[in-house]
Symmetry: C3
C-alpha cells in the first residue's frame, strides 16, 4: 500500500467488516444506537466513555433530551406497513416526536420527504432542534401510496437522558497531541460516517502496537456539532496540547482523496497532508466554514489546527445523505487506500526534522561510501535524488517537509535518505 | 440590476438619452463644445465650473490657446462639399490651424487620414501640441475624391481663451473623498467618453439622493491629460483627502467589465473593484502607464489611489477612435450594467467593516435564533453560508472585504449577514 | 540577433568550427585530451592554466590518478577489430583499467553497454571512482559479435599525474565578478559540452573587445564535479567576489532555451535570466540538486549565486550521452541564438540601474521634447511605452529590471528609454 504495506494489509477487509456490523444500527445525536456503536468500537479499543446529561450547557448550546425509537410506520387501512422504520432507519426523520394518528395523504404529505433526482433512494433528514416529525421515502413509494387514510405511528421517546461520546488517548513521548475525530451520529449510512469510525479504529490499533510514538494521539468518537462542542467545553484545560488534528469522514467511497485545510491554512498538519494528498493525485482545498466538526475545532475561540481528510466530500457525490450510501458504496480497497494516506500524513507530522549537512563544501563523494552508483553516465535513481535533495537543503534550518515541498520529493524517501546520510556521518539532526 | 435594482431601474434609458443629446457637439480640449457639454451636465448636477486662461502653467504643461471651429470642408471645383465637418465632426483633425487654399490631391494627400482596416469608418486624429491641420475621411471617400483641384477650407480659430472644466463635491460624514473622473474632450464618439459622463451624472444624482453617505464623493469632468493636470495643479491642498478613485470611461460598449488597478495595486479601491468585477465575470488587470487620466492621478508625484473602470478598453475594440463609436454601439443595458457594478464597488469601499464574533466558542446555535433551517440534512443556502463565513473569520481584525476575497463570497451578502448577526447580538462592529 | 546583431554575426559559424575542431579528442576528467582541448581554447584566449597533482585533497574529494588511452578494441580470432576505440572514443568506458585477455562472449558480456532505445547509438559510460573496465557499443554491433572467443585489449594507463583546468579573468571597473563555467571532461559529444566551451570562448572574446565593462568576468574551463570542487577549494579567498554566475552547457542543440535558477532562487542573475529567457519563449525552472557544476557552486558551504543556461537539458533529449550528440546535432544558428540570449542576460545584470523621475507631477510633456508623436489618436509605439513605464515607476528605488518584470517590457528597450529620458533631464540615475 504505497510504502506502508505492512500496516494496512488486511486492514481493508477488517474495516469493511466493522462498517458492516455497525451499519444496521439507528444512530442519532443521542440514544441507545450511539451507545451500541460505542460498545462495538470498545471491543477493539480501550475507550473512555462519557455520558453528558440532557440540559447540560456547553458554550452557546444545550444538550438535548435523549431520543429513542421503538417503532415507526405508515400503514394502510389493512394494517400493511407501506413505509417502515424497521426496513430502513432513514425512513424516520431523526428526532421525530411521537405521533399516533389516522391521516389522509393530503394531511400526511407535508411530513413526507423524497429525493428529487433519484426516485429509488430514501433521503436523510433530521429535526434535532425543532419539535417536528416526518418520514423519508423513495419517490416510487410515495407515488404508490394512494390517498389513504393511513395509520401513522411514530413510537419514539424524547426525554431527559444523556449524550454519549468516547475518547481514547494513545500516549507518546511528548504531551503534544494529534486529535483524530469521527462523528457517530448518522444512522444507516456507510460512508458518512461508518468509514471514518472504521479507519479511526484501525489507525488507533496500529498506533497502540507501535513502540516509538513521539506524539500522543487522541481519538474522539462523538455526535456531530453538539458532541464536539460538549467535548470542547469539557476539555478547555487540555486544548493547548492539541498541536495537530484531523476530522475523518467519508473515507470509504470512490473518488480521490480530499484534504481540507485548517482555517489558518499553513499549520504543520496542512503542509503534511497537502504534501501526501497531492502526491497521491488527491485534491487540497482551503477552509470553508461548512462541513463537519472542523467547523467547531477551528472556531475563533478555539482555533485548533484541525484539517479534514475525506475522499469525495459531502454534497459532491449523489449518494450523500441517502440510502444509496450503503455497504456497496464503501469498499475495502478505498478504506485501505485512505488509511495508507493517513499513515503517511502522520509520518510526515511526527517525523519532520531539521538536519545539518556535515560536508557542505560541494557534494560529498557518495560513491566511496557506497551511496552512489559506480558506473557514471546514466540518470540518477529516486533514492539518489532523495539524498541529493537532503544534502542540498539541510542547512540547519530547513526541514525535511520543507524540502519535500520545494523539490516535490516524497517525504518517506527523504526520511530514508536522511537516515542513511546520518548513518554515514554526512548529516546531523538539529534540535530546534 | 444584480442587487441594486432600485437605483438603476430606468437609469439605462436616461443615460442613453443623455449620451444622445451630447453626441452631436464638437468637443476638444478647449472651446465652446466643452462649455456646451458642461451646460448640459449642469442641468442635472449643481456643478462648480472653472475656466483656466490659456498660457497658465500647470506642472510641466501650459494651457493651450483655445480652439474653435466655424466650418471646414474639402469641395470640388463646383463647390460641392466632398468632405464636410458639418456632416461629422471627426472629419476635421482636432486643433487644425486655419487653411484656405486650392490644392491637387497630391498636395492634399499628406493631410488626409483614413482607417486601414475599415473602409467606411472615419478615424479620429488630433494635433493639440503641434501646429498642423488635416482631414479624416473614410477610405471610400478618399477613393472617390478624384485628382482635384479642391477647395480646402479650415475655418478655425486658435487664440488665447481658456480651458473649461467642472467639478462637484457630494459631501459625506467624513472628509475622505472618492474621486470619480470622466474626460470631456472627445468629439462625436459615444462610448469614449459620453458613456463615462452619463454614468457619472446618473451616479452623482443617486448619491445626492442618499441620506447616509459616509464618504464624500468628488466628480471631475475635465479634458483629458491637460485638464486633469491643471486640476491636480490647482488642488494640491486637498489631494490628501482623496482616499479612493476611479476613472470612468468606455462604459456603454459591449464586452465584459474591465477594472485596471492603481499603480500601487493593492489599495482598497483595487480590492473592492477586483472583488465586484471578477464576480461579474469581468476582467481585472494590473496598472500600465498608458490609457486615460489614471496616468496623471497615479504619477509618482501624486500617487493617488485611482483605478479605472470600463468595459472593453481603448484599442481593444475596432470601433475605438472612429465614427463607428456611435449611438448604436452604446446601449442602455450596458450603461445600466456598468452603473450597477459601480454602485457595488462603492458599496464595498464605503461599507467595508471589521466585526468581532461574540460567540466564538464553536458555532453559535443559529437555529434557536431563527437564522438556520430547522430541517437538517440538506445543503446550506447562500444566505446561511454568508453568516457562517462572517462568524468564522470575524476575529476583530479581518474585514468583510477580507472575508469576501478569501471565501469568494459576495460582499453584499456578507454585509447583509453581518447586519443580521449584529442584530442577534452575535457580532459587534470594531472601530479600528 | 534580437538586439545584439553586431556581436553575434558570424559567431555561429565560428563557434561551430571550434566545436568541430575539438570534437575528435578523447577527453576525460584528467589526461592529455583535456590538455589538448585547453591548448585549442588557449589559441583564442589568454588562459591561465593549472595542473593539480593526483592525490591532492579538495574538500571531501581527492584528485584521481591520471588516465590516458593508447588503444582499445575487441577483435575476432582473425584480428579484425569489431569494436574499436579509434573509430569512436565512446566505445571505451571512461577510466577503464588495462586489460589484455581472450574471452568468450559470456565472459565479456558483463563489460558491454548498449543503448536500450536506439540500436544504432553508442552510449557514454564512465567508471571514475571504481576500478573497472568496459566497452560501449551499438546494439547492432552487439548482435553481430558472435560467441567469440575475442581478443580484448584496453591499453590505458592510470597513474599519478595531474588534473588540468584553466581560467581567464576579464577585469572590469569593479571587483565584483560574474563567473562563467563550462565543463571540459566529455569525450566526443558536441552539445555536451563542446557547445558550452565554444559559447564561452566567443563570449570571452566579445567581452575582451569591450571598453566599458563594469563587472569583472571570470571564465572557468574545468572537468565536471572534481574540477569545480578543486577550483573552489583553491579559490576560497576570492569566492566572495563572485556576485553572479552561470554554468554554460548544452547550448548548441535544438529546443528552447532553459534557465535553471540558483538554489536561492531570487538572485539578480535569476531575475535577469528569467526575464530574458521567458521573453525568448524559453523555460525557467527552479533549482534541483542534479545536473552539472551548479551542484558544487550552490552547495551550502559556498552558496554561490550560479544558475545554469542551456537549451533542452541533459536527459530530456534522446541524443544525450550518446554518439548521436554529434556535429549534426549542434547547429550554428542555435549556438548563435544561445550567445545572443547570454549577452542579453549579461546586459541586464551589468546595466540594471535605479533612476528618479525629475518631473513626477503627472506625465512630462514628451511632445515638446520630440519624444512623443505629434499626431494624437493612435496607439503608442513600443519605444513610447518603454519611456512611459520608466517614468511611471522610476521613484528612486525601483530598478529597470524591476520595471521590466512588472510591465513585461524588454530590458534593452527600458535601458534605451532611460538613456533618452536622462538626456532630456527627465530622469536622473540614483546611486544606491
Amino acid at each position: 500500500m504505497r510504502g506502508v504495506t505492512d500496516e494496512v494489509s488486511g486492514a481493508g477487509a477488517r474495516m469493511h467488516d466493522l462498517v458492516r456490523r455497525m451499519y444496521p444500527i439507528c444512530r442519532s445525536i443521542t440514544g441507545s444506537g450511539v451507545r451500541q456503536t460505542l460498545d462495538i468500537i470498545g471491543e477493539h479499543l480501550p475507550l473512555q466513555r462519557v455520558e453528558v446529561p440532557s440540559g447540560t450547557q456547553a458554550h452557546d448550546w444545550t444538550v438535548s433530551d435523549e431520543w429513542n425509537v421503538a417503532d415507526a410506520y405508515i400503514a394502510d387501512k389493512d394494517g400493511r406497513r407501506l413505509v417502515d422504520f424497521r426496513e430502513h432507519n432513514l425512513h424516520l426523520v431523526g428526532y421525530s416526536v411521537p405521533v399516533r394518528a389516522t391521516m389522509t395523504l393530503a394531511e400526511l404529505r407535508p411530513h413526507l420527504h423524497t429525493h428529487e433526482a433519484h426516485p429509488d433512494w430514501i433521503p436523510y433528514r433530521t429535526t434535532y432542534y425543532h419539535r417536528d416529525w416526518g418520514f423519508c421515502l423513495s419517490q416510487r413509494q410515495l407515488d404508490a401510496l394512494g390517498e389513504g387514510p393511513f395509520e401513522v405511528v411514530v413510537d419514539t421517546t424524547l426525554q431527559p437522558g444523556s449524550l454519549s461520546y468516547a475518547e481514547l488517548l494513545v500516549p507518546g513521548e511528548v504531551e503534544d497531541e494529534l486529535l483524530l475525530s469521527a462523528h457517530i451520529c448518522h444512522p444507516s449510512m456507510a460512508n458518512d460516517n461508518l468509514s471514518g469510525i472504521a479507519v479511526s479504529v484501525e489507525l488507533a490499533q496500529a498506533l497502540l502496537r507501535r513502540q516509538d510514538r513521539r506524539l500522543s494521539y487522541r481519538f474522539l468518537f462523538s455526535p456531530g456539532t453538539i458532541g464536539s462542542i460538549v467535548w470542547l467545553s469539557e476539555h478547555a484545560v487540555g486544548l493547548p496540547n492539541i498541536r495537530h488534528g484531523l476530522v475523518l469522514t467519508g473515507l470509504g467511497g470512490p473518488g480521490p482523496l480530499v484534504y481540507k485545510r485548517t482555517r489558518h491554512g499553513r499549520r504543520p498538519i496542512d503542509r503534511a497532508a497537502a504534501h501526501v494528498v497531492s502526491r497521491l493525485d488527491g485534491d487540497v482545498r482551503d477552509y470553508s466554514p461548512y462541513g463537519y466538526d472542523e467547523r467547531q475545532f477551528n472556531a475563533i475561540g478555539f482555533d485548533l489546527p484541525v484539517g479534514r481528510l475525506s475522499r469525495t466530500p459531502h454534497g459532491e457525490y449523489p449518494e450523500y445523505h441517502t440510502s444509496a450510501d450503503d455497504l456497496d458504496f464503501v469498499r475495502a480497497e478505498q478504506l485501505a487506500d485512505s488509511l495508507g494516506a493517513l499513515l503517511r500524513i502522520l509520518e510526515a507530522v511526527e517525523h519532520d526534522a531539521v538536519y545539518r549537512n556535515l560536508s557542505p563544501y560541494g557534494e560529498p563523494q557518495l560513491g566511496r561510501r557506497k551511496l552512489y552508483p559506480t558506473m557514471g553516465g546514466r540518470a540518477a535513481s529516486d533514492e539518489v535524488m532523495a539524498m541529493l535533495w537532503t544534502l542540498a537543503y539541510s542547512d540547519g534550518s530547513t526541514s525535511l517537509l520543507d524540502i519535500a515541498e520545494r523539490g516535490e520529493v516524497d517525504f518517506t524517501q527523504l526520511r530514508a535518505a536522511a537516515t542513511k546520510l546520518a548513518d554515514a556521518d554526512l548529516l546531523e539532526r538539529v534540535e530546534l
